[in-house]
């Protein structure tokens, strides 16, 4: 099997951020909770790989710990979308054309029409800013995405012969959805999942940047950017490194998604070539 280059690149980038985040639970080069003003705004060096911030904290260590927030918020939001979206999509597809299908799809359209950040703002206005509310705000908008993808893919599988065989064998819609449809659309869900994951990282960064995500002193990539904004004229590194981190993490996941799609469904590639 030949792996597409986008898959290899995406896999390595994603793996890198995953690994440094996991390591950060046990070990970071420097403690980020103690301030060391004498060491503030240091340039990158062997001691501090990416330099230090205005409180003398090691930027690389902060990026490692910030990954905990950024990745977990995005990941749980994807989980939320999968947990509610996939069953809704399966139900919609197996009772295609029914009133239930219509209601589910219209509700999806409705959520789609909402500008997601505006609703995130509304949620935080109501419940106050926190990581949990950020997850909720991002996760709600993942539901219609997964419902739609699931329904679309499931419908095309429902027309195939082996589903008719399963029907003749006496299986009901529920068992068919679970045993035959779901395994066949899993690839597609993984691809969509990685894309939503990357969008979640961007959304979390945006929310934290405007102060609606995790609250200080918990570091997140978006919050690091927000803190750096007033110092950008004399300490551009503070803004550059967390920004590049976000870009590489998002890029990695997107490439991984694209690469997986090419890998599991070569027809898509042939169609485009």
């Amino acid at each position: 099997m030949k792996f597409p280059i986008s898959f290899i690149l995406g896999f390595l980038l994603s793996l890198f951020f995953l690994v440094i985040t996991i390591i950060s639970f046990f070990w970071v080069p420097y403690d980020v909770e103690t301030l060391n003003i004498a060491n503030r705004l240091m340039e990158p060096s062997f001691e501090n790989l990416l330099g230090t911030d205005h409180f003398g904290r090691d930027i690389f260590s902060m990026i490692m710990i910030g990954g905990q927030t950024s990745l977990s918020v995005a990941l749980i939001a994807v989980g939320l979308g999968l947990f509610f979206g996939v069953p809704l999509g399966l139900i919609s597809a197996s009772w295609r054309g029914s009133l239930l299908d219509d209601i589910i799809m219209r509700a999806n359209d409705l959520i789609f029409a909402f500008p997601s950040l505006v609703i995130a703002i509304l949620i935080t206005a109501v419940f106050g800013p926190s990581a949990f509310n950020a997850i909720l705000a991002i996760g709600i908008f993942n539901i219609p995405v997964f419902a739609r993808v699931t329904r679309g893919a499931a419908i095309s599988i429902w027309t195939l012969d082996f589903i008719s065989s399963a029907r003749i064998a006496g299986k009901g819609s529920f068992r068919i959805s679970l045993e035959h449809i779901l395994p066949n659309i899993l690839n597609l869900l993984i691809v969509q999942g990685s894309i939503q994951f990357s969008l979640g990282i961007l959304a979390e960064a945006g929310l934290s940047y405007v102060g609606l995500g995790v609250q200080p002193p918990t570091p997140s990539w978006g919050r690091m950017l927000a803190d750096s904004q007033t110092m950008i004229s004399f300490a551009p590194n503070l803004a550059l490194f967390p920004g590049i981190t976000i870009i590489l993490a998002v890029l990695g996941l997107n490439l991984l998604g694209d690469g997986t799609r090419d890998l599991v469904d070569p027809r898509l590639k042939d169609k485009i070539k």
Binding site: R106, D109, L110, F112, A113, F114, P115, S116, L117, V118, I119, I121, L122, I123, T124, A125, V126, S198, L202, A205, G206, Y209, V210, G222, L225, S228, Q229, I232, S233, P236, A239, L240, G243, I246, I247, L248, V250, L251, N254, L255, K271, I272, K273
Partner: protein, 315 residues
Amino acid sequence: MSSYFFSRLKILILSLFFASLIIFFMIEIIPGDPASFMLGINAEPETVDALRKELGLDISRFERYFNWITGMLIGDFGVSYTYRVPVSELVMARIGVSIPLALYAIFLSTLIAIPIGIFSASNHGNFKDWSFMGFTQLGIAIPNFWFAMVLVLIFSIYLKWFSAGGVPGWDKGFFINLKALTLPAFALALPQASILARIMRSALIETLSQDYFRTARASGLTFFQAVKKHAFRNALIPVLTIIGLQFSFLIAGAIIIENVFFLPGIGRLIFQGIVQRDLIVVESVVMLLVFSVIIVNFLVDMAYLYVDPRLRVKK
């Protein structure tokens, strides 16, 4: 045409109705009474009651919802708790920044995306296509507020070509404002342009492999003539869909970007509303934004009629 139009109109009205319900009840479940919040904890109960009456909080929920909705329909968005002026006035003062910013960003992203899409599609599979698509991958991955900060760093701080924030106001002349909005619009346009270019490219590649396109080429049209005459319009359908979907991302992006550049637009108004717990401002402005997104999607649906004549046929 009429059946398509009415089915879309029905969806439009239903969406607006449910959106207004959701927004109204989300604001309703916020604990605490705006009147006592405004007056502080030491206020006399009579004063609080008087203010509740003034703000229209003494009537039932149903009546309040009804008043809010019917008020919105005639342009009355209620009175701001903190500024004590009609919300419509606050909105009108800021819309002159937000709408030009959004239009400028859409203009820029289309201007960048369509040529890149066509160029990549016509070179598809080779190095030029690859490098352009690599750039668009990067464009999608860049958070627009970070890109905005980098633009400020390069063009305002180092090169001093643009100001780092604010707008002079439209009475000071057109181009000076356009210049002030250029960096924010560009920051907003970059991710949009990247997505749009990719969609344009794949939609075009799809049409380029169709038999009618080959026939057009065989009949002697040059590549670009054939694209212009036959492929472009067919590729436009998915592109239109994306422009419609992107509008809601644009609105969201604009809220953040306005905060980066200190632009006195709708986005900053929402933030002030949240910080000052001016819920009537938050409620009405959020509804207005949702309304604009739903309307734009409706207009996109209508634009399909123009692009795709098959939809004009009665089903």
